[in-house]
């Protein structure tokens, strides 16, 4: 087993865990820059597929993708290393930084930082949508599927699971066999 590869895997997912604010979707940009741009561990179309799989299987997106990418790179050992990497920052911060952590969160400067991070997180999600769009929207059918599901999602706040299921059904119907 290539030790350096495992170390890279751990460090990449550690960074994803450490810098991901605001939930799963903001993490997509971080994952992309580590997995595709920096290391070339997955192709863009494999990447969008694993996001789809992560959406339809239980658990946080970051953990699902860490397990999947780790497996693709270095089997079961790789998936264990990547998964431990992505959860380590949370464990370290929440289990060791007791009072210090509370002082940071209660500091009025923290609120200003969080308010600045929110637009940044939205930018990351927008950028993720654009780059996933380049891979996923390959013809007018896929464009129409994305547009209609987007409208349904924003208007009716539909559960992501059902939207993904709708995508699968539409794919089966309209795929150019």
């Amino acid at each position: 087993m290539n030790f350096l590869l495992l170390l890279n895997l751990f460090w990449s997912f550690f960074k994803v865990g450490l810098f991901s604010f605001g939930g799963g979707y903001a993490m997509i940009s971080l994952l992309e820059s580590e997995i595709i741009a920096l290391h070339g561990w997955l192709t863009p179309s494999e990447f969008i597929d694993i996001i789809a799989i992560a959406e339809t299987t239980p658990g946080p997106i970051a953990i699902n993708s860490a397990t999947y990418v780790g497996f693709r790179i270095a089997g079961i050992v790789g998936s264990t290393v990547a998964t431990i990497g992505v959860i380590s920052p949370s464990l370290i911060i929440l289990l060791t930084l007791g009072t210090f952590l509370m002082n940071i969160i209660k500091d009025p400067r923290m609120e200003s930082i969080i308010r600045g991070l929110r637009p940044a997180v939205i930018v990351l999600i927008l950028l993720a949508a654009v780059s996933l769009g380049k891979t996923g929207l390959v013809d007018w059918v896929t464009f129409a599927i994305a547009a209609s599901l987007f409208i349904i999602s924003t208007l009716f706040k539909a559960n992501p699971f059902y939207l993904i299921a709708a995508g699968a059904v539409l794919g089966l119907i309209f795929y150019p066999y």
């Binding site: 959406e55 009072t99 600045g116 929110r118």
Partner: protein
């Protein structure tokens, strides 16, 4: 009082029940979070209400006010929301070991399911035409979900002119210079620190 208690007491002045007399064993913590981890689909914002239902209303391990505090901490810190929330709840109940147990419970189902998929199912079905058809439709669905998430968060959090300006500025700068995501976050934090403080004075 264990070493983890300052975290609890400092955030929940209205919490009069000591974590020690709730009586949740490590095994109960493990099974509760295994269940939550197994039956929740999608990301953090979908999981948090389910954690609340289990922990606050069904098991009464944490009261409502304390759970609100936990959500605030969860969302101010990096890392998957569901994971952060689970670690804090586990730690309140049984200290560091409780936190580790809750983390194991929430992570293990995803880990095993993805492992099974990646090792056995996907390699077998991948070249099947129908599987390809499903992914042909899943990809635009993912694009729609991600774009919708951006709009949703925008409506929730970008309500003042300053937030909107930061958003537009960061978007323009990152489109022109292809900034690393970490750099975009750092810029956002700096702009927030500088301008939101000033706007309060």
């Amino acid at each position: 009082m264990g070493e983890g208690d300052y975290l609890d007491n400092s955030i929940t002045e209205n919490e009069n029940r000591s974590p020690d007399n709730i009586g949740a064993s490590l095994l109960e913590i493990l099974f509760t979070f295994l269940k939550i981890g197994t039956f929740t689909f999608g990301g953090g914002y979908a999981i948090l209400p389910i954690i609340q239902r289990e922990i606050v209303y069904r098991l009464e391990w944490v009261d409502e006010g304390a759970f609100m505090d936990i959500l605030i901490i969860t969302q101010s810190l990096p890392g998957p929301l569901a994971l952060n929330c689970s670690i804090i709840v586990g730690r309140r109940l049984r200290g560091t070991l409780g936190g580790l147990t809750a983390a194991l419970g929430i992570v293990l189902p995803s880990f095993l399911i993805i492992l099974l998929l990646a090792a056995f199912l996907l390699p077998v079905v991948w070249n099947n035409e129908f599987v390809q058809a499903i992914f042909y439709g899943l990809r635009p669905a993912v694009v729609a979900l991600v774009a919708a998430a951006a709009c949703d968060l925008g409506r929730k959090f970008v309500k003042d002119r300053l937030s909107l300006s930061i958003l537009v500025l960061l978007l323009a700068v990152s489109l022109v210079f292809h900034l690393q995501p970490v750099l975009i976050l750092a810029l956002g934090a700096l702009l927030g620190l500088f301008f939101f403080r000033k706007s309060k004075q």
